[in-house]
Amino acid sequence: MKKRDLGISRLWLYKVNRQFYRKPFNVVAGGFVIFVCLLGLFADLIASENPIACKVDGQVHILPAIFSTAELVDYDNQSLLDKIARDGGWTLAPPIPFGPNQTKVDGAIDWLAAPSDLHVLGTDGSGRDVLARIIHGARSAMLVGLSSMLLCTILGVLLGALAAYFGGFWDRVANVGIETLTAFPTLFLILGIQGLLGISSIWQLVVIIGATRWTDVARVTRAEVLRTVNEEYVEAARALGLSHVRILRRHVLPAVLGPVLVSATFGIASAILIESTLSFLGYGAPPPTASWGGLLADAFASQRCYWLILFPGVALSATVLAINIAGEGLSDAVDVL
């Protein structure tokens, strides 16, 4: 029994995968989403004020930012190059040799600089490199998007499935909960909670979004479970005397996986939009954290700089678009099966 279940869900995943990759559009979108995730994951290696590896004063440092900061704390990539030119040695700088919060390059502040060879996408109002901040912004966006949606999915699937499976009173309670949360304008509610609690960390934002946005997933799960509980195989499972937990886990939930996955994917996009909007209003991630919305807020403060408006906005829109395309492709793939 156990083996066969596993086989079916694996086969299902395989089929969905094949359907999904049939369209080149989906492949590009999916690839882009993975690219942004990787960008966020390795942001510290891609854009940092410290080199990946270097040899200074006859000593080799690997990832000095993590392992040996003491000797190199005063140097950024540029001043390190000068030092190496004087004292000898070598350095392997990251592709973008600026940190997200680095305001000085070689001791000089160059704020609101237009895109140039040094700063490929220019600098912001405090002299921080825009490209470095965009790369580190990918981290905040994906962190909030993925983890808040994980929370939403857990909450939504749990509540939706329980409500639909047990029906009656609990179903009505869950329905009222969903209807209530839907009635609140999202941004007002989340802004309100952020304002009341005070901005503390990005995880707080994750929890708030997770706690308020599970309704879509719950609604989808509820509808799908309602559809499946009347299927014959569920009835057969009940006739066999299986426990509620086992029926739900083995027979009902795998069947609702597809629509939930689709809804969660769209949820990631909307969570990223919420995060950036909140950061734009100054109520997202706490200030030094790089975020696309925060960059756009800087742009709003100094409106004449096109590079501050354009590039973070493009990054944000492209990511949201890619996730939405992936969700649409997923939805088609699930529908076909």
Binding site: G167, G168, T186, L189, A299, G313, L316, V320
Partner: protein
Amino acid sequence: MIGYIFKRLGMLLPTILGISLVTFILINLAVDNPDTAGTDTTGSAIDAETAQELGRAYGLHLPLFLNFSIEDAQTRTERNIKELSDPFNRKSAVRSLVHIGGAVIPYLLPKLDHLKGDSLSAALEALEDIARSIGHADALHNTNDPLRFWQKYWITYGSDFTPVRAKRLVRRTIRREDRLALNELHSLGTYCLPQIMESLNEALPLEAQIRLVDILCEITDRDDPMSPYFSLKQRRDVLSRWNEWWHQRYDLYTSFEGIYNVSGAITETRYFRWLSRVVTFDFGVSSRDGRPIRDKIMERAPVTLLLSVLALFFAYIIAIPLGAVSAVKKGSWFDRITGVSLFVLYSLPTFWVAMLLLKYFGSAGHLNWFPSQGLASPNLPFSATPWDVFVDTAHHLFLPVLCLSFVSLAMLARYQRVGMLRISEQGYIRAAKAKGLTDFQVILRHGLRNSVIPVITLMGLQLPYLISSSVVIERIFGIQGMGAETFDAIRSSDYYWLLAVVTVTAVLTMVGILASDVIYALVDPRIVPGRQLSKRI
């Protein structure tokens, strides 16, 4: 049909309960979290004093749904007198007696003879503070036996402490400048507050209002007087501040009588307080500018609603034909291109588009086609005709409405397309074609009209989205609506506005969803019997 509408209305009640719960959680978050004040850089967390006030305003000291031990001035005083004998609670009991003020006198003085030792001296200590507040400090100071003083006081003035007497004094004060009545009112202290507040809300001449507010200030030590030079609006603001103050504390000073002791079990609860605020649309007074929240909402809501309704209108006007045409020409280049561009539009962040439009179409140096701030030109001449004003407003509204509508537009057009495709597979379309109608007639009369209905009902669900977006759009375009005010309110910790606006928008949205459901049912009666709640398995 009527049954369905009533059933739908019945489903509204638990949702109201749900909204109250969410708001309730919000208040609790605010009140329980005073220690974070000052730790974060933006200073947005609530401070302890505001938290306490908020707790009073929303009745957080009360039980949730049922209150079987109602506390009014009398029971509170009696409890505190009992606590006087307990050395651990003595200090707090004295403080709470002093806090209640003159209203304790008719309940404390008759009991004075039964108190002994430390309790008596504590009671006298409390009374000394109260004497100061009701203007008998000198007389008390001149005696060397305070207990005897208070016994004599009760014999002489005890009969004054009745609601009827207080009411008569208030009436005299209202009628004319009566020094004697004022003095007597003052010596009743907080005991006469219910009567004063009751009269204050009647239609009174200005001088009488000023006299009453003056005596209120004197009794309560709260400095919010009314001046004869105030405008009508300022006078209303002062009155609503006093009303809010009273609303927060009336149970401290009032003695509940008769039926109220029973009905208080329901009315003196946290939930009823909240509900009475929502039903009467009274959310207190803004801590930012001391104006009643109701007035502010009335002032701001039309702006936001105008933006939202216009955005919805244009979204529908464009989306329905667009979706219909791409459904009819399914698979054509037109369909593909609109499909892709709608998808892109749907994914664009509103605030980014707003910034781009503002930069490239509304600022000097680029195409300066549209004004960038506000809803009206500051230099519009007085002689402007209504047409000029209309053109000016439309000119200002263009960019904000565009930004608000495009996401809704993209969504609605996609729904319209899907709905139209589904309809075109129906039997009656084939029948219409078979009886020889032209394509145009089939599409317009049978396809479009049927497929529009579900899309129209999405209106209710668009509302929360549009109101949400107003925060960003109003901030970027400098429009003074609910969104902009909410943003400012959060920055200056105006939690009254925040809670009010969250509640009001939620209730508004709910009513919108309800309305669109009912309209759906009216237009398309097929859905009513099909609406079944899940069956228990």
